[in-house]
């Protein structure tokens, strides 16, 4: 074999080995801090309690609720269908595996929204993009869905329809049954106006 071919082959092999070893340092697939900061200042990650209530009631298959509080808090109370991924475990590979559902909308929640927001920052750093935060957390859930506040008389129609939705959602989530009492139907007497020969609609 020609000596030059051998030299060429060995150099290319060395080069290939180098390419395999070098990129390990930067190949962590984590989000760039500047990009992360930019995403942090966007308010689009916040979903309202009304949104989530609607999704749960409609059995939205894309919704994935993640409770980031400690297990004991999760056992005491959790939103329907939520899974528990305590914040403590966010550095582990197990958590990474549990969040690996690119088609779903993952919504983090906690008592308020601080822990959920922290979880969101960590998940974004790890490269997850389909993650959201429940604005106000469970505190807001109680204030709006479980114990909605009746709007003032001067409020807009929108607020009233929102209140109606929330009242219904409250019944749904507390498992309260609504019974409709049969009202005795009064016989309705229809009196027809006597048709006079006067011309209607003016002369």
């Amino acid at each position: 074999m020609n000596k030059n071919y051998i030299i060429l082959m060995s150099m290319l092999l060395v080069l290939a080995a180098g390419l395999l070893l070098l990129p390990e340092k930067n190949n962590t697939k984590q989000m760039n801090p500047e990009e992360l900061m930019w995403d942090i200042v966007q308010p689009t990650r916040y979903v309202t309690t009304d949104d989530v209530a609607k999704s749960i009631i409609e059995q939205d298959p894309l919704l994935m609720l993640v409770d980031v509080r400690p297990e004991s808090d999760f056992q005491d109370f959790a939103l329907s269908g939520a899974i528990n991924l305590p914040l403590e475990g966010f550095a582990s590979d197990d958590t990474r595996a549990e969040l690996d559902y690119p088609k779903k909308n993952i919504v983090f929640y906690s008592n308020d929204d601080l822990r959920a927001d922290q979880a969101w920052v960590l998940a974004k750093r790890l490269g997850f993009n389909n993650v959201y935060v429940l604005r106000g957390g469970l505190n807001q859930w109680i204030k709006t869905i479980i114990q909605p506040v009746e709007p003032a008389q001067t409020a807009s129609a929108e607020e009233f329809s929102q209140y109606t939705f929330r009242k219904g959602a409250s019944l749904f989530f507390t498992g309260t049954k609504l019974s409709t009492t049969a009202t005795t139907k009064e016989s309705v007497v229809v009196t027809r106006k006597k048709k006079s020969s006067a011309v209607a609609g003016g002369c």
Partner: protein, 212 residues
Amino acid sequence: MHVHELNPKKTLVTLTLFVIIIIIGLLTLSQPRLVYKMDMKQSVDLALNNQGFVDQTELSDLLKNPGQNTVLIDIRDTYQYGRGHIPGAENISAVELLSEDNLKRIADLDAQGIKVLLYGNTLTEANGPFMVLRQIGYNNTKVLIGGYQFYQRLESSKGDSSKQISCVPDQAEYNYAEIAKSNGTVTEGDSPAKKPVVIERKKKTNAVAGGC
């Protein structure tokens, strides 16, 4: 006859140059401007242990001696800052904070032992930027519990020693299990205040409503 058989030396030189260029490229071009100095485990600890969170006691001390060892930074937009901010605070948005000049300034302040306290309307608003700055290695940054809203409540309750205002991050304001449990059956037309349910509320310690 192939070229490399005619000029073995030339081939070798070209190849060596080629390899050197590739190595230089790999080492220099793939470094982003900002890199994480904290790994995931440290970042999780940072979040869970409320590291860098400044409570009202620290804030009061700070405000008594302004400019001594802490620089206050308001990360909200210009309009909100203009409407009202903590006295002595500068207005720098979160994204601006990552500019070369600002990062250099934060590093210089660190060298002088001066802290940088970030605040937004709430703790949550400033927490994200705070986390990023910590994770890229700026350890003299801190964040204000309760944010500007809490500061306003503190100011308005000054002199009224009967009002004890506190603010605990991510505190549950209710006993969720109790409040959200079933009310049995209700008839349409019942008033919203359902009498038979005994709700045991967690003692409200004047905790700030609307989150801290």
